[in-house]
Amino acid sequence: MVIIENVHKKFGKNQVLSGVDLTISDGGIFAVLGPNGSGKTTLIKSILGMVIPNKGNITVLGENIKQHSDYRHKIDYLPQIANFPSNLRVKELIKMIKDLRKPTHEDERLIQLFKLEPFLDKKLGNLSGGTKQKVNLVLTFMFDSPLIILDEPTTGLDPISLIRLKGLIQAEKAKGKTILITSHIMSFVEEVSDEIVFILEGKIYFKGSISELKTKTNQQDFEHAIASILTENHA
């Protein structure tokens, strides 16, 4: 699905990614984890072509991303902070994104699911953070793409929406899609993900299942396993 080879990225003097090699196979939920500033978002943005790596190759669904922008038709992306043009109405934004990508009717179901009907005529600038995130989720999930990338999808969501989001993710997985998630909520990651990728100082430190991580670090639970990696490397 996604092949990342020897990707380097530097912002000024700050080396964010230093030789990332990662292969993400078809189907399943992958969680990208790492401490703050470890390069998770940079890695995801590199896959999307928003950040241009200094070195290395990225292939998405057999296409080298340097050549075209068409491969993004096959990706649904949820950005980290839902910042939308503030003078646009929710309805207009959804219509616009559909116009830019392709027609779909899935949005109606998602609007119902997240109970967004009362907000459709409101301007995006007047929405609360959680509601914005729900709009963000609708925009992401309304297209039926084989690869879904979610950057901190749980931000600002109330418990009931979180349950709905988990349901949504599982439903997409059941369709055989590949889902990439970054999150700092360890319980969420443990619940949904099949495999985790741990980034540390711009490199892939660990890739495997959660039970493998627990064995590797000699820890009983997931949260402590992650914490032990961090303390070992930073203490």
Binding site: K45, L48, G49, I52, Y71, R72, N83, N87, L100
Partner: protein
């Protein structure tokens, strides 16, 4: 690109500032006609305002729009769209909506005053054409500055400096060099110097069209010889077009390499 252009354009058309800009020109046009009672004189006064104001508004609006629509741009970047079409669409959205405010704001009062029956129609058209060119040029320059500067304050600063330089400082340096080298034949130098600054070029074009080149003295005669002919006119428009195309090319080039 057309879809982005459409959305940027609608977004701007709905914003308060387009109306302020439009009403300003409407008011300016009406007041000038009322005070001058003469189309040709009003055109001259307008020229003085437009030559300075259009570049300023173009730069400020361009920089402001770029920084304000950052989130929108990031949203678009994740969609299957080419980078060049995103930025060119936004650029054209700003430039076209500004040009429309200018053309409509000035056009409406002049048409009501009887522009079509007057001989000043060509002078007035030239004024609007150069105004549109200046909008296109300075919006493109503003996008260039904004693309190269992440920091808003810096971006605004450079944009104002650029305007100040081309609108005022350039003329100062130009004048100084003419005084300094007055012993040498300067007609070629002053021609080239005028050609290199879009504001000066526009001003000269309109002044000569208005047949008041006698005011410019000896240099005016040489300018008249050059700009007054169709060859000079064509060269001037080629220069103005180059001033549009070069910054636009840099927008495309720069946007391809930028990280978001």
């Amino acid at each position: 690109m057309l879809k982005i252009l459409k959305y940027s354009f609608y977004d701007l058309i709905r914003s308060r500032w387009s109306y302020v800009y439009f009403s300003f020109y409407l008011l300016l046009g009406s007041v000038l006609l009322f005070l001058n009672n003469d189309l040709s004189k009003a055109v001259i006064t307008l020229m003085n305002v437009i030559i300075v104001l259009v570049p300023l508004i173009g730069t400020i609006f361009g920089v402001m729009y770029y920084y304000n629509s950052k989130e929108f741009t990031e949203l678009l970047l994740a969609q299957p769209l080419k980078r060049s079409s995103i930025f060119l669409g936004q650029y054209l959205g700003v430039a076209i909506s500004l040009s429309m405010s200018l053309i409509l704001g000035l056009g409406i009062p002049f048409i009501f005053y009887g522009l079509f029956k007057s001989s000043a129609i060509w002078d007035f058209s030239l004024l609007l054409i150069t105004g549109t060119f200046l909008t296109l040029i300075f919006t493109a320059l503003a996008f260039n500055i904004a693309l190269s500067n992440e920091n808003k304050i810096k971006g605004f600063g450079y944009a104002i400096l650029l305007w100040l330089f081309l609108a005022i400082i350039y003329d100062g340096i130009f004048l100084m060099s003419l005084i300094l080298f007055e012993d040498y034949p300067l007609d070629k130098l002053s021609l080239v110097g005028t050609m290199l600054n879009p504001i000066d070029l526009s001003r000269t074009l309109i002044l000569l069209k208005l047949d008041i080149s006698a005011l410019l003295g000896y240099t005016g005669a040489i300018f008249k010889q050059f700009f007054g002919t169709s060859f000079g006119l064509i060269v001037s428009f080629i220069m103005l077009t180059a001033w549009v195309i070069l910054p636009v090319l840099r927008i495309v080039f720069k946007s391809k390499k930028k990280d978001f």
